[in-house]
Symmetry: C2
Subunit: 642 residues, 2 copies
């Protein structure tokens, strides 16, 4: 046995000679960022060897002085003797941190009120099919010695008018004691089904007013859980954190690959359920003094991979031609089937997927965006870890997926992070001295940069002449913020560590910019190909809705200037936030909305871009700032000419 001492975490782990250092950390729940899932391509799993020797190779990601200081990549390191390791913590834990964040209640209220507006506008019901009723059952005697179950059934038959009751074993297990705790005066929670009811919960005494549902958005990067009062239909509270699966890879492809390894599927499933959603639920229960047994219905939205991993279903065929998902529509699932921290009998409904790479997050998003009822042509763009695009109106809806990568959520960018406290969300650059002006979420010290910040930054670097239209830094600039490493890769310093209390400078380099350009190119070319496939062009668009975790401060103008969004009238654009979560919320509080959601899943058409003949050319043309064909961006053309 070999001992690995993770100094930074105060943890000593015993393992075997020849074990991989990244796997050792994962198995011991020590988070090391590894977006490329250990394929020695991203360089993010850099750790510092403090003591002992390892079997490791220097890669391009490690600078000479770093190598001398003991920096190694965990993913290509094999342990051969007792060692001490330090994991750099600040950025990685903020980037993917499991810190649970609460909600901005005022902002949330606006979003959810706007959603409720959809229900009112389209005359949908405001109902769930779950009822709670206080009943007083006759107590048993020697002469009236019906069993507990038969007694309850008799009461339901005589007083509520249903013939039969049904329930899960767990309920039967607690029934005898609960009935007697309050002299057979209890509150039952049930779902009606014709002549029959399924009882989800029995509680002692009268608790008719305590009935809750949960809407969950499972993003590849972030997870948001939203607690809803099923009586008032109000959002009581919201909590979010990183998706703990991220230690197994930043994007769905790397996670799918990990899921095929030994116990990989189980680990990914546990990461999202046990390590992400359940702690979020628990935090909501504690904050709002709620009993989990009163949470009886859930709507969950995630992309097709997230939905599969949420249920622990084998996902590998999603990434193998012909790209077949295991399921699209929600199977019948109860809380206990997947170990969710809610009522065992709670109904868990998954927003339907459309294809392998257009999932429930998109159908839920489309529900909340109201495309299904719109006379106008709407372009819906979800800027998440993947990029998905929907175009249509009440008559048809077309969708496609772009392999955008996680750049909009800070992934694949050396100092990237989620749009949470410490993230640089807005950037402007002074043309004279090239100094940046930063806006930071939470108004604290900067930790990294989130999607909206990167868009601003690249746009500003282009406009101030730091980079050219390929995204390369001009070699002739003489500025302390611009520097080149030994491999001649240029970088721009957003924040010097001396100016703040940082471990390292916050920088964006040419590799980051290149990654981001490919990401924005994928989105733009996806949208134009999708519309082109209908024989139309961007001029037919009436509205563009931007959704996703990119952050509230997305600058539309800048997004157009870098060629992420089409150069059309600015008033057509709107950022609609986490539309997947809002759609889940709608389906939670309205039976009609849930039906509508199912219908969207059934009716949406999927266009497979990878087999679409002109897509590749279009993508390559779009990997430019703003585009190889600048005529498509008249505004930018004019600006650059000025």
């Amino acid at each position: 046995m070999i001992k690995v001492n993770f100094k930074s975490h105060n943890k000593e782990i015993y393992c075997n000679k020849g074990d991989n250092l990244l796997e050792i950390a994962r198995n011991s729940n020590i988070f090391i960022d590894a977006p490329c899932n250990g394929s020695v391509s991203c360089g993010k799993c850099k750790v510092k060897l403090l003591k002992g020797n390892v079997d490791s190779e220097k890669t391009l990601h490690i600078k000479d002085d770093e190598w001398e200081q003991g920096y190694i990549l965990a993913c290509n390191t094999t342990v051969i003797e007792d060692i001490e390791i330090e994991v750099p913590s600040k950025l990685s834990s903020s980037m993917h941190g499991m810190k649970i964040e609460g909600s901005d209640k005022k902002k949330d209220k606006q979003i959810f009120d706007r959603a409720k507006n959809i229900i009112e506008t389209h005359n949908l019901d405001f109902k769930t099919n779950i009822v709670k009723t206080y009943i007083e059952i006759e107590e048993p005697t020697l002469d009236d010695n019906l069993s507990d179950v038969d007694r309850l059934e008799r009461h339901v038959r005589n007083n509520l008018g249903f013939n039969e009751i049904d329930f899960k074993l767990e309920l039967l297990r607690k029934m005898p004691v609960i009935l007697r705790e309050n002299d057979f005066k209890v509150t039952i929670t049930y779902v009606k089904k014709k002549n029959k009811i399924t009882i989800l919960n029995i509680e002692s005494g009268n608790s008719e007013d305590k009935l809750y549902g949960v809407a969950i958005d499972i993003g590849t990067t972030s997870v948001v859980v939203c607690l809803v009062d099923l009586y008032t239909k109000e959002v009581i509270d919201k909590a979010s954190s990183g998706n703990a699966q991220i230690k197994y890879g930043a994007d769905v492809i790397h996670r799918i690959i990990y899921s095929t390894k030994k116990d990989g599927l189980t680990k990914l499933n546990q990461a999202v359920i046990d390590d992400t959603i359940n702690p979020l639920l628990e935090s909501l229960y504690v904050r709002n003094d709620i009993n989990k047994d009163n949470v009886v219905t859930l709507v969950v939205a995630g992309n097709t991979t997230m939905s599969s991993l949420f249920l622990g279903v084998y996902t590998d065929y999603l990434r193998q031609e012909p790209f077949i998902p295991p399921f699209l529509k929600s199977p019948k699932i109860m809380g206990q089937d997947i170990g969710l921290n809610v009522n065992d009998s709670a109904y868990v409904y998954l927003a339907p997927s459309v294809a392998s790479y257009v999932g429930g997050d998109i159908t839920a998003g489309v529900l909340s965006a109201g495309i299904w009822a719109s006379e106008e042509n709407i372009l819906f763009i979800d800027l998440g870890t993947n990029g998905e695009i929907v175009f249509g109106n009440k008559d048809y809806m077309m969708s496609c997926a772009c392999s955008a990568g996680p750049a909009f959520e800070g992934g694949g960018i050396s100092c990237g992070m989620r749009a949470s406290n410490g993230a640089i969300e807005k950037v402007s650059i002074d043309k004279a001295n090239l100094n940046p002006n930063l806006t930071i979420i939470g108004e604290c010290e900067p930790i990294g940069i989130c999607g909206s910040g990167i868009i601003d930054l690249i746009c500003q670097m282009l406009l101030t002449g730091i980079i050219d239209r390929r995204g390369k830094i001009y070699r002739d600039l003489d500025n302390k913020r611009i520097r080149f490493n030994e491999h001649d890769i240029g970088e721009y310093v957003l924040a010097f560590k001396e100016d703040y209390n940082l471990e390292n400078d916050i920088t964006v380099n040419e590799v980051d910019i290149d990654n981001f350009i490919r990401t924005k190119g994928a989105i733009y070319s996806g949208a134009s190909t999708l519309i082109e496939s209908l024989g139309m062009d961007f001029s037919v668009i009436d509205k563009v809705y931007i959704a996703g975790g990119i952050g509230n401060n997305l600058n539309i103008e800048n997004s157009i200037l870098i060629g992420l969004l089409p150069d059309i009238e600015r008033e057509k654009f709107a950022y609609i936030g986490n539309s997947s979560l809002v759609g889940s919320y709608l389906a939670l509080i309205s039976k009609d909305a849930k039906k509508k959601l199912q219908q969207i899943g059934n009716e949406m058409t999927y266009v497979e871009l990878s087999v679409y003949p002109t897509y590749m050319d279009e993508f390559i043309s779009a990997c430019f700032l703003p585009h190889t064909n600048i005529e498509q961006f008249p505004t930018v053309k004019k600006l650059l000419e000025d």
Copy 2:
């Protein structure tokens, strides 16, 4: 920490000073017989202290020389320092042993053939509602990229004519891989429900002929599991063992009391599922090369307490006035709900109970005995750990329960054991020298005596003048087989240890006989009270069916002579074996029989003997050999007068 070294088991257990020795053994899975569940009343938990000191008191159950040798009762012993303990093993492990026993296939065939006869006689169907079909699904392509679930559903719709499919999550989890293992050629197992099917299993390739069900009889003392081919309806194999719950008490009352202790309910549930039924199932699978996923339906019969503990449902109200069971009819249960070693989606049906002390073993027994269709008046007596009695015909059925105790299965008798190998099952005594002639199951060395043997023995002791009609041994007999201890309790030696290779003599003493007389008195008085409650007497009986674990060699004549059974025409009696198991088998292979079973549960009337005014007097009169009023036993009267 204190160390208890169980020498006999080669186990060292660490515990705290002040812990109870019986509990220490139980928690460490060391079996110490304790039918009275540690209430210092039965004396069965005798163990030998080899080293160290304990805090323990001498009781009546420990002879002076035993006390000197270090014998103590585990239940009234507190550990105070490191000790070494020996647990006497032979009798107790045979009595309650978890040794899995196979079946006598020829004898079984007769029993189950007789059962099938019931189905034929009454024109019931020979059907289960579970179907297995081999299907060849079209393989997916880029153009036909339906999800796995939708693809299967489409195939079912187009080829089998059902609109919708339903399944448990576990099935979805394995579906993607199984579909591809054999190029989308699979066998599905399903249950039809109108337009819909619930899929229980998917297997690669064609396995249409592999479809099995299981019938289980959960006795308080013994458990029998019976594997059935659902195509041929034949019993393939059978296995039985003791009920591992027995370490928590020999009868239902002691188990219920134990269930109210911390973790008690869980322990009792695990004892019957994990430690009894699952190993029995596993042994059947191994012996017959069967995959558990092909076991898709079960019928389980047990008394009301056993049914509750099988499901892990709180049972304490069963023994508190007004004696309310948690449930009577079977809740909807699947294999995975209770951790059974069968297909996760297997339907588990429990034979319905009638009252707290007339359970599913009796309704199943009545089903197999055919009372529900009989023109004749049938008296049905189940001689199990409890004694239950049913009287009736096709027009009505009355039932009652007697607190018989476990004597018929060897419990409460110092050398008693189950009717398994080594049990003395027949006894005759030579009037001249009072030497016994023993018949032993398995034709091996005797270990103890089972129910049928005790009946023979007591009858022979009465007829040969060893005991009087109160069951007391005549003090004036001079025979080496008759001896009295220091408390003047007499005993008769059935087998001297020198004659066989035994640790101790096999004896029956006056306390045993007294226990047995009370047991048989409870049965007889129960039967007579039940019939009397209808204003009838034994003369109206057309048939008497004896069921239960008392053993195949029950001697009817002797049973009448000791006053267990009424003194009516001998040809009216029949021993019908484990009728509970046979009834479960019937319900497993015939939908009509299952419906009939449910109906029996609904229609049977329960008479609560404890509140019936004349029962107590009747019971006391019956605690005599054969009865205080010998006029009720003309045959015996004549014999004793001779």
